[in-house]
Symmetry: C2
Subunit: 367 residues, 2 copies
């Protein structure tokens, strides 16, 4: 598979809607693994890093899951192409900055990706649409089991899998879900929810992981602890909390719909309007506008048909995607203008929001 | 004429476009006069004020110019009705607050209005569309001359007409033009222009006169000095400065159109969009949106047909007009919602802005 195939095709999880797809965009499980008897990447010299790459890359490429995969040493990719992989949540921002010996191998559907020589020797992840943490875990666990039969993992009987950072020790697993929470943001309950989630040992982060801002009302919820619990237990606990957040979000939306409909009409109407008629739109504003459009689909202002288009636009309006689209480097002003142009074009035949298609909310109320 | 006739009909100057109508909304000339041998209003007791009213009101009502006029003691009008007259620039905010003895008499076209017992015994004004200061002066001068033949004005051979505040002494005249200056605001040259105008002894004020904010990119430019110059001289000097401001505004628009068209496309597109699809709009935002729509007409984004509609909306979306429309007192939230509803309704068949109808700008460039 070539890079342009990735470019042309959004990931499978983006095009489909999974369980609780109105609120949960995607579920992701990442495992950190290291080889025994060779320095961890932070300590490894270039020779070590190449040795790791030479051992890991063929093992990953040989997996049946990676049949027809895209596989590349990151040193062979331009900055923009690496940024594309970041914007697709396939590699981390940290990985994109890494030098010799770093590589990424991903399957055709972009649901599986293995990074080599990121913070650990191997960082492997799976992404599924909707609230599908167990399925995502199952998918990456199979990959991990196969790799374990050919690679000699650093494993300790007391501590479990050894990792570069102690916060990953044990299972080496980080499970997370990307939640779309416009209801909790609009009704100003989001901070209360984040604080409560933090208190029980889970993390809430922005669109691009640790230290990033929550744009477009999108929040990643993940486990903090990796040690002392089985993978299934961690996932079950995380999923339980996410189900509670979903319930809070549904209640917030219902309350807004029933008691503050004018505010929703206004926010959704303005977002539709600016997406249709704006000519200069920043990434941050675009994500907020698309977020309200998605909420509009959930609440019956727009047809369900456009949900996948919105989810794809969330990705396509990112800076690197725009530059690949334009086939040249773009300054910030040019990006803001092209971003607006693409959205106007994609949404030009979208009928105006109709406040009368309120069946959706009635369904919710009667649940 | 009854109050409801005023309500139903916008003023003549609002429905027509005068000289330089793209930039000059209206021209206004106001004269301050007082009767001899009776206390000025600020000093007058109620008995004096009633005496003034009894002398002045019939004299004004008898003018042929006031044939079929609306004439009312302000104590007979509700707060909302008085506010309507303020929003139409027919009486001052100060006059609206005045008690016994205050009255206002205005002609059918709402181009002439005489206030009784405002800061002076008589405050009479004329309003014309566009840059028409001489015509406006001529109109009010005729009224003044006729009144002077029946009323005994306080006049001093050295100082001219005597007034309550010394800043009005002499001619008692304040001539002003309402300018729409989005080009100078968008290109951030407006403060430079205001400072220059202030330095040569003219005043620049907001939409509702002294101490009010410049909303909707609307600015009133008027003479500060009333003493030591003939009325014609004051008006000629003011008009000369206004012509210079017009030139600056035209240059600013041309430069924006030629060099920053995307910014114009964005501002005008967004304003159109929010007016068409917003559901909660404050007075301030509405004035800014309508301002950009008017600029859109000037620059050929919209047809000339809607100019009068925009100018009428500038008035109709004001708080008192909304409450008369709703026929009840409205809270701020209800007003913001009704304001958006009225604008959506009035503009629902307005075609979307077209950046290709750029003849307008070419015309300007070749001037």
């Amino acid at each position: 598979m070539q890079f342009k195939t990735i470019l042309k095709n959004p990931a499978e999880w983006m095009l489909s809607s999974g369980p609780h797809g109105e609120i949960v965009i995607s579920s992701r499980v990442r495992l950190a693994r290291n080889l025994r008897d060779i320095s961890f990447p932070g300590w490894a010299v270039e020779e070590d890093r190449m040795e790791i790459l030479n051992r890991v890359k063929p093992a990953v490429e040989n997996l049946t899951e990676m049949n027809g995969a895209f596989s590349s040493d990151l040193s062979n990719l331009t900055a923009v192409k690496k940024q594309i992989l970041v914007e697709r949540h396939l590699i981390s921002r940290e990985q994109a900055a890494k030098a010799a010996g770093s590589a990424a191998i991903m399957n055709r559907k972009q649901t599986l990706c293995v990074m080599v020589n990121e913070e650990d020797h191997l960082r492997m992840q799976s992404i599924k649409a909707g609230l599908s943490l167990s399925d995502a875990y199952k998918m990456i666990d199979e990959v991990d089991t196969k790799l374990e039969s050919t690679l000699d993992y650093a494993f300790d009987n007391q501590y479990g899998y050894l990792t570069a950072c102690p916060t990953n020790l044990g299972t080496g697993m980080r499970a997370s879900a990307m939640l779309h929470l416009p209801g909790l943001v609009l009704s100003e309950q989001i901070n209360k929810v984040i604080n409560a989630v933090n208190k029980i040992g889970l993390a809430v982060r922005g669109l691009y992981g640790e230290g990033t801002e929550a744009l477009g009302n999108l929040f990643q919820v993940s486990n903090q602890h990796t040690l002392g619990e089985q993978e299934n237990e961690i996932i079950a606990r995380l999923e339980k909390v996410i189900r509670q957040i979903i319930e809070h979000e549904e209640n917030a939306r219902e309350k807004l719909y029933n008691e503050k409909q004018t505010i929703l009409d206004d926010k959704i109407g303005r977002s539709y309007a600016i997406l249709r008629y704006g000519h200069i739109i920043s990434t941050k504003e675009a994500l907020d506008l698309l977020s309200m459009l998605r909420a509009g689909v959930d609440l019956g202002y727009f047809s369900e048909d456009i949900r996948a288009l919105i989810d794809v636009l969330f990705m396509e309006i990112q800076p690197a995607h725009l530059q690949v689209f334009a086939d040249r480097k773009l300054g910030a002003e040019e990006r803001d203008s092209l971003r607006a142009e693409i959205m106007r074009d994609r949404l030009k035949s979208l009928p105006e929001p109709s406040k009368f298609s309120s069946n959706k909310s009635n369904e919710q109320s009667s649940e």
